[in-house]
Symmetry: C2
Subunit: 396 residues, 2 copies
């Protein structure tokens, strides 16, 4: 079926033509309820409920949903489907199941997550169950194990490079919006609050900072360590009680493992900037993430299986993993800093700042995020353990 933009009625029709999916819903199409719940920047999302079950249907639009004059190739849905397939067995049950991908409609049909809510929203509403970040740490470690050169024959990584190298439309967003735009005057950057303008101008004139950002640009594009989610922020995670799921893998690319870690930790830290009284809670989540990530990383990767480190035994590999984790922590620190800055003054900002009740406190929160982000980017090569990162974050 040639591509067209679905609405509730045409989606119902599409589903009736897909018997497996229709039988998951059960009953007759007239018994189904279809709600549009689009929330992210890029796609339309429908939740479909039937007598026997539910589905989540996500369709790519030919433009940015929140900026219709910004064209966006439909193929991103293909990369999300590929990402889900490449990681599903490793991360289950920490991601929804992909039931079907329609490569003409650029439509993913997935497990419906209800009554889950977006983690960022739950954090803002204080509705999280502490420790949720351990699941995310485990998720990243398991994704890495499924896709890295240390744990898989190099042909596997080569296939992933080939399968995801074409995802340039969304990688271009990362390169521009995270790695470049916030550090230069750019029409995509919203005008900052007047009080924040001097801080923004200082960041955009800070040559040592730009040099450190340049190193992170280089890491992002050259250090092809494993398959990344590529956009692992608190808006890409759904949760209900202790059920935590990662969604929205359309930014997937082979890249530095610390990029996924850094984006996640950056969004946690941003929440604490918006809600300073939650500094200890967020510090505990960052700790839970890192401890869970490193523990699972060591366990899963020490048995090898890949062409990298093939000459070493498990004991030696454990030592080598410690060195590797050290460099991942430094990447994590740098990318965390980038995320804090771009989510504060760049195109796609975060709702966590709505927790600040006065304009003054909001400016103060943003200023803290910018200052911390800059510190992290510059000091990343000097961080040697989690405590070092926590000290730079100054959330406690």
């Amino acid at each position: 079926m040639p591509y067209f933009t679905l609405d509730a009625s045409s989606l119902q029709h599409w589903l009736t033509n897909h018997a497996d999916l229709a039988s998951l819903l059960g009953g007759s199409p007239s018994a189904w309820t279809i709600r549009e719940v689009s929330d992210g920047n890029l796609n339309t999302v429908f939740l479909v409920d039937g007598p026997a079950g539910s589905l989540c249907c996500k369709q790519a639009l030919p433009h940015v949903r929140v900026a219709p004059d910004w064209p966006m190739p439909l193929e991103r849905a293909l990369y999300e489907a590929r990402y889900m397939r490449a990681t599903a067995d490793a991360v289950r049950p920490a991601a929804p199941e992909l039931y079907f991908y329609d490569d003409e409609m650029f439509l993913l049909v997935m497990e419906c997550l209800t009554p889950h809510e977006v983690l960022r929203t739950a954090l803002i509403r204080d509705e999280v169950q502490p420790g949720f970040s351990a699941v995310i740490g485990q998720y990243v470690a398991r994704s890495v194990h499924a896709t890295s050169w240390i744990s898989q024959p190099f042909e596997h990584g080569s296939k992933l490079l080939a399968d995801f190298a074409g995802n340039t439309a969304l990688t271009r967003i990362t390169v521009d919006l995270i790695l470049t735009d916030p550090f230069r005057p750019c029409s995509r950057n919203p005008a900052p609050e007047a009080d924040l303008l001097p801080d923004v101008e200082a960041l955009q004139a800070d040559k040592p900072l730009h040099r450190a950002v340049g190193n992170l640009q280089e890491r992002f594009l050259t250090a092809r360590q494993a398959l990344l989610h590529g956009d692992l922020h608190t808006g890409s995670i759904m949760q209900h009680k202790d059920d935590v799921r990662v969604i929205d893998g359309e930014f997937a690319t082979m890249g530095p493992i610390g990029f996924d870690c850094g984006l996640y930790l950056g969004n946690l830290a941003l929440h604490a900037c918006g809600a300073p009284h939650k500094g200890n809670l967020i510090t505990a989540e960052i700790t839970a993430f890192w401890n869970s990530f490193t523990a699972d990383f060591r366990t899963l990767l020490k048995t090898g299986g890949g062409d990298v480190w093939a000459l070493s035994d498990d004991v030696e590999r454990e030592e080598m993993l410690n060195t590797f984790l050290h460099s991942i922590l430094q990447d994590t620190t740098g990318f965390c800093g980038l995320e804090m800055i771009r989510r504060t003054i760049g195109f796609a900002q975060v709702a966590d700042y709505t927790l600040c009740v006065t304009p003054e406190s909001r400016t103060e929160a943003r200023r803290k995020a910018l200052k911390t982000g800059r510190t992290l980017i510059l000091a990343a090569p000097t961080v040697h353990n989690l405590e070092g990162l926590l000290n730079l974050l100054t959330l406690r």
Copy 2:
């Protein structure tokens, strides 16, 4: 035309069906002379002379030419064609022109290089014109400029990643023959001379060495800095007087720039191991390579043009290039060491050792190569300039 293995007669017929190529040769097919000159390990090569001009025709075989029971996918010819097309404009005239690629016959038709000879052969015969390595240094810098993230929009590098990630059959050879086999008992390794056996056994039990090799395995597979030739040894270069040409790009892959540099310098150093009286000549060539490479690298890359370091100006970029060249030198040192070892005890050894007239001197030459290779691999992270590398090589 479905694939079949060409001989002189069927190649003549094939050429008559390609009018552009036939007219380059001139005259009637009966006036053409066709000689098979296969020399490398993998392919058949014919030189065709006609009244008006000459052609070089290289066809992939479905197996390793020198080991017919080792199957080898034909697609490697496609990657060589892609490599030549991706680099031709940048490196001209330091590579032969590709006139035609037949993707069913896996046949490349190229500029014929006569009366050129293989650089390794010319070195062995003392028929080189000193300073030839400056051309190779320039070749590597120009290839990097055409393909790196610093000098090209990231979409260009992504296309190269996609175009070359499938070259797994030949990358498997690199991973096995260069990065792994020499350091473990392996049926592909020829039995060493009895006198050398203790040295080989020591290398294969050397855990700190294996750890350093592991780091180089990781660099090779994860540090996707630019498009590599992938097999840049003195047998992949043709020369006649001051005309120096790089051939045989079928191992092309995105990888660490120091890999191409290291393989080339390793083969120069191996020559000096086989001919110790030429230590100063080889040292001069290594110096010419590195000086030419770094000078052109700085000039070409400092103007940027890529997404990496996009925030920095030319002056800052020049400083950043120095740091980058430092890390390339360390990679170069490590890969140089790997090449010296694998060409001494691995599957594909070098003819330079035939310069040793006695069995004792040959063993001594090989022992020196193994010892130097090991030193380079272990000391690579401590090398800070060319002089440091030359000191480790001890060729002077």
